[in-house]
Subunit: 210 residues, 2 copies
């Protein structure tokens, strides 16, 4: 009996290991590959993240990788929703400052925008959508949510993006002061990926993953 | 018979003239003063605009000026709500870039954040809240709304703030390409101030303004 294979739409080895662990903990017999397994150019086009929601962006990526590899593909998209910013930066988290991927500029801008916002209105949450797409166009999405509050200055060096200013509910450390293991237990990404487990189980039971 | 007096919480002569014209057009016999009428320091403290809504900020300013002058006071607060930014910059319009009052930086940041947002998702609206506060604490708020869409580059030099990138519904010019007279007819500010007219009428009829 062969084990079903899934490909994760990411070149980040940490993400591959994280999802592999989540799948193993669930007892699912699935082989997880990273996009790198298809060589340096697996024919996956760069997908513009132009969706209005995390789910749309995750689906765009998952479908592109499923089409390029011929395998069921998992992709995720995530960001920070700040109450006092009407739920933004949201899908614009990685380019909030207008410069894509400039974590420091993005974080500094959020702190500047919230400078006059009092402590009792600094609620925020990390959101993640994890999408699974099959080469035949079938799609499923799971979502994860990590509520907390924002600090007034960055703290900690573990993590990226807005981690240094995000204090998860029930904690005093920022998520950049937590260990990777702690984050992997409770983060928005972990929750979204875990929500895919029963979806994958159902697809295996239905003979749709092989 | 004396004419009731109102004070506008603004040192901007254009704003004083605009409201004076709106009151005159409505046939209301009211004398409108600017804060300047109370000298260079009328004892009005600088009010931090920390409200979560335009109405809260307008009320903060109107109450402060009513308390300092002993007269009924009108104040307004306004900003731009962008659909693709979850309704922001909103109350943070004047400090969106983290630098208060830097119109060019604020506008450039919104354009940068919307760079990948397609034309059919570039809806926006200017909002204004106009508040009236009496020295006894009585308060009323009127709101005005000016819907439109955002361009991809600034156009026009008349106006300030986000005017150069805002095209009102039914027009092709930006609000910075419209004349002041045209803007004064249909803008969010004009609509909010006009919504105060029946409120002022009621207060006069009730003998609360004199």
């Amino acid at each position: 009996m062969t084990v079903p294979r899934l490909v994760l739409a990411s070149r980040n080895e940490h993400k591959v290991i994280e999802l592999r662990r989540i799948l193993a903990e669930s007892g699912l017999a699935v082989e997880l590959l990273g996009v790198d397994a298809f060589g340096s150019d697996p024919g996956v086009p760069d997908v513009a993240e132009t969706g209005a929601t995390f789910a749309e962006n995750a689906l765009l990526k998952a479908h592109a990788v499923a089409a390029a590899t011929g395998l069921p593909a998992v992709a995720d998209d995530s960001g920070l929703s700040v109450d006092a910013l009407g739920g933004m930066p949201g899908v614009l988290s990685a380019r909030w400052s207008g410069r894509h991927g400039d974590d420091l500029a993005n974080l500094a801008l959020v702190l500047g925008q919230l400078e006059d916002v009092p402590d009792d209105r600094r609620g925020a949450a990390f959101h993640c959508a994890a999408a699974l797409a099959l080469p035949d166009g079938t799609e499923r999405v799971g979502e994860g949510y990590w509520p907390g509050t924002l600090t007034r200055a960055p703290r900690g060096t573990n993590g990226f993006g807005y981690d240094p200013i995000f204090v998860p509910e029930g904690r005093t450390q920022t998520s950049a002061e937590m260990s990777s293991d702690e984050k992997d237990q409770e983060s928005h990404r972990a929750r979204a990926l875990r929500s895919l487990v029963p979806i994958v189980e159902d697809l295996i039971a239905a003979g749709r993953l092989r």
